[in-house]
Amino acid sequence: MKQYVIIGNGIAAAGCIEGIRSVDADSQIIVVSEEKHPVYCRPLISYYLEGKTDLERMKYRSNDCYEKMNCDVIYGRKAVKLDKDEKSVVLDDGTSIPYNAVCVAAGSSPFVPPFAGIDTVKKKFSFMTIDDTLALESAINKKSKVLIIGAGLIGLNCAEGLKDRVADITVCDLADRVLSSILDNECAKLMQDRIEENGISFMLSDSVERFDGNTAYMKSGKTVSFDVLVLAVGVRANTALVKDAEGSVNRGIIVNTKMQTSIKNVYAAGDCTEGHDITFGQKRVIAILPNAYMQGKCAGINMAGGKAVFDNAIPMNSIGFFGLHAMTAGTYYGEAEGGEMYEEKSKGTLKRMFTRNGLLTGYIMIGKTERAGIYTSLIREQTKLDTINFDLLKQVPTFSAFSSEERKKKFGGAL
């Protein structure tokens, strides 16, 4: 009998548990959960505010999932030390839990820049967890004026979630466009227009110089008065446990394709890690839910002595705001970097396919996103575009663009 410890209780942890149990039905699994909730769907917190889901439906797995998986969960405790010599995890109450293998699935934490006067703001919130969300919900009413710092995924999701529940929302960002990590200028403008049409105001290329109570003084000289502040500037991977144990850490915990860290018997998965992005050709933090699950499952299988690799991670997102949907994947190389772009535009839709060295490296599709997964799969599988009819495929996501043999494999074989 072995003992596996999982630090964290999010999606990567769920993947890890399911990975371990696919190989080892009996050994002990102990999950250390700082949050006092069973695993839930973190990206749904904005849908919760919008009334499109509730706390019960937000549960990622069934109520008896830990029992079924024969796991013990320690709620409300934080792992503070990874003792690699003793092979144990030390909790904040001093408890020490020995492990044969451990998975660090500690997630990320909101990053709050040291704004001047931030301490004078009474109602300020992050937007990462259920507890953040419930606290924010209890602070708002129909008359609230909300200022959101950050026009990324977290900030904009929060804005849409709050839209019908407050009087006024302003979103500011240092960047000159919304969703700057996943959209280029023109695409960002399309999304921004849709969000603005729905009554949300933006202050882009601007940031807060100082706060004084319920007023934000901006660098541009403008002022914003608000009742509730949401800080969605960015997140930082929780790397401290591995870093303090002298494991390799960059912006995230460094893992190989088996999700091993540089420390023996220590694995890591999810938003706290930095994995290899095949479209970027380098390691980077890919803080998306599918990645967390797939890394977690891979880690779990390997921890339990099975064999798994996860070697085709890419950034990818499916997001919609006020009925306008966008899907993005991969890396968008410009001409200067040897990339080429194919573009289709019509009113309300935009499609951009980015190719380089005979491969599809990324795409942005707005307004019309049917069958986008066919493109995602070309990126993940690094399909050589000269083996298919990409001139057709880039226009229409159809399997006519593949050879008959390839189609036989896809639709005639067991998968």
């Binding site: 769907c41 439906r57 499952k297 919609g320 986008a372 189609r407 005639g412």
Partner: protein, 142 residues
């Protein structure tokens, strides 16, 4: 497990599979009442060009990326069949973002839909296969 497999050389491109699918999942007992004059949202779709046609539906992958990517826990595998829980689905469309077969789609009112091999409707076995006039799709073990 039994799956729907495609014999593309036999497909006539008649789209009957699409109509049978939409009917089987409509909950109606009368086909014309279910489909006549209405937009249909089949879970199997004819793909192809002027030379060749083939029906595309969920492959029920052994290691399904849609399930692993689902942000709401709405997709799950039950006895090998990939099913969607509409009560949990928030229509984020991440499954459409990742399905390599383009086999998940938005149905009526933006509901996310996919082939569930007719296990949830009264047909009991894939209606698309049952109604195919040329055995261009079959339901069998391979």
């Amino acid at each position: 497990m039994k799956r729907v497999y495609v014999n593309e050389e036999w497909c006539l491109g008649c789209h009957l599979c699409e109509y049978n699918c939409a009917f089987a999942n409509s909950g109606e007992i009368d086909m014309s009442k279910a489909l006549k004059g209405k937009p249909v949202f089949p879970r199997v779709k004819i793909d192809g060009d002027e030379h060749i046609n083939f029906a595309v539906s969920c492959r029920h992958c052994d290691d399904p990326i849609c399930v692993k990517s689902c942000i709401s826990g709405a997709l799950s595998v039950n006895n090998g069949v990939i099913q969607i829980d509409h009560n949990k689905c928030v229509k984020c469309l991440t499954c459409i973002l990742v399905c390599p077969y383009g086999a998940v789609s938005e149905g009526e009112h933006g509901i996310v839909q996919k082939c569930e091999l007719c296990v949830e409707n009264s047909c009991g076995e894939p209606a698309c296969v049952k109604g195919c006039p040329n055995r261009a799709i079959v339901y069998e073990e391979r």
